[in-house]
């Protein structure tokens, strides 16, 4: 395939992926909007008003970056894992496997679909948050950089999950039992300065802590951890996940008999 043909193949896959999650917006876009609105009302307004300031910001201002990032992570991951596993389950992944598309185009097609949903949901949640608080972006490059890198990383992770999943239970295990707890314990609702020293150190093993704090730094200009370290870690995980996804596609593991 020449470059033009590769571009056509890639854009076909991306368009298909975006149309898929737009078509089922009641399942993909509406739930995070409702859930996050409830978070804003309950944690931000009702409980937040009694908590007072955190890190020099109102509690609502403090939790908004984490909640936006939580939506991006969950939706980027869920989009790829459900789409690719669905293709495997109904066997229409074969449409792609028999085509002359290169494995990296296939991978990027799915990843960009996940990134698109992550960013769109992130945007919806950001717009909703404006009903509850004011947002001023302090560091534009950091904000855009971390949200892009994070959505790519979790789209790749979703792809790996989809390749290994044997049934729909396997698709929901990671978001339910890994992503959600890590996000809740990753400094979305509190600063790790509030934790006892031991638990603060334990928290530093949680990758979500770095992602949430880097994004919070981009919006509010404060972070519990080094932003450079956060980018380094997310970048490293993204590279490792990308390499592993390509390995799975190139070897055909769990995709070709």
């Amino acid at each position: 395939m020449n470059y033009q043909q590769q571009w056509i193949a890639f854009s076909t896959l991306v368009r298909k992926e975006i149309r898929r999650f737009l078509r089922i917006w009641m399942q993909t876009l509406l739930p995070p909007a409702i859930t996050m609105s409830l978070y804003f009302i309950i944690f931000g307004t009702l409980i937040g008003s009694r908590i007072g300031d955190m890190g020099g910001f109102t509690y609502m201002e403090f939790v908004v970056p984490g909640l936006i990032m939580m939506s991006v992570v969950t939706n980027a991951y869920s989009n790829v894992v459900s789409s690719f596993f669905g293709a495997k389950f109904q066997r229409f992944v074969e449409e792609i496997l028999v085509s002359p598309m290169s494995n990296s185009i296939v991978l990027w097609g799915y990843v960009i679909g996940g990134v698109a949903r992550g960013l769109l949901v992130g945007l919806i949640v950001t717009l909703l948050s404006l009903f509850f608080t004011k947002l001023q972006v302090q560091h534009v490059a950091v904000t855009i950089g971390i949200v892009l890198l994070t959505s790519i990383m979790f789209s790749l992770a979703g792809f790996i999950n989809a390749v290994y999943a044997n049934n729909f239970d396997d698709v929901s295990i990671v978001p339910t039992f890994v992503l959600t707890p890590l996000t809740y314990l990753g400094g979305v609702f509190y600063s790790i300065d509030l934790l006892p020293e031991f638990w603060a150190k334990v928290s530093q093993l949680n990758p979500m802590l770095y992602i949430v704090n880097a994004f919070r730094y981009g919006l509010l200009g404060v972070s519990d951890v080094s932003v450079g370290l956060a980018f380094g870690m997310v970048g490293l995980f993204t590279l490792a996940a990308y390499g592993y996804c390509l390995y799975l596609l190139n070897t055909g593991k769990r995709l070709r008999q």
Binding site: M1, N2, Q4, Q5, Q6, I8, A9, S11, T12, L13, K16, R23, G86, A87, Q90, R91, F92, E94, E95, I96, L97, V98, S99, P100, M101, S102, G252, R256, Q257
Partner: protein, 304 residues
Amino acid sequence: MTHALEISGLKKVYDNGFEALKGIDLVVKEGDFFALLGPNGAGKSTTIGIVSSLVKKTSGDVSVFGYSLDKQLAQAKQQIGLVPQEFNFSNFEAVWDIVVNQAGYYGLPRKEAEQRAEKYLRQLDLWDKRFVASRMLSGGMKRRLMIARALIHEPRLLILDEPTAGVDIELRRSMWQFLTEINRSGTTIILTTHYLEEAESLCRNIAIIDAGKIVENTSMKALLKQLHREVFVFDCVNELPEDFSLPGFDSSRMDAHCVEVAVERGDSLNAIFTALTEQGVEVASMRNKANRLEELFVSLLAKK
């Protein structure tokens, strides 16, 4: 001359240790209409899976129009259109999207993809259903959708894995006609089927695979010549006596109005009619007892 498909020493051992292919060699000439027959589990779908790169081979070489699967995979894939045995499209997508997207995966510009989609959906009587979700189609329509999707990039080699399974007779015949036209226009076709009549009427060359080995690979004519004996059934107007037999012939009474007679190749049927007339039997109609190829198929598998 470049062959449409060349397979040599192809072996496949699945992870569970099952040896599906035991080193098969096969050549399909360009422009051929080729039948790959065999009982269930013989290795037909594994062979097709390897050629279309859905199954990983254990060893051996496969090339499609000279493009090696090992060295020029993308070019080889570009030559192939696959119609698999089982439905493998998204249940939620519309017919139009399935076909046009497939064209995109092969790098066809959108405009050209849409023109071809219209052409093939019209030819396969799916144009009126183009905006219908695929899950709403009947079984026959789903089969035709898979053919339209396989043809959208206009492959030089079309592989059909039991394309008429579960399709009614009328539709099956219209699909035969369509495939014959596609073949006449220059597309090489490889077909696996359980309907031996289908292979006999469509294909020029044939390979029979059993237990992972090719047990016969010849032209359809040459294969049918191997038939030494055919059995004819005579439907008689009058009732036949219980102990009816035809002297000088291998015959047996099937019921009150039917008698079957085995005939060696080259024997005249006139002698049978004469003998029947002498016995006072009036023949209403006559038919072949079974599909000739089917008989041969069974005897070949029994022999090897």
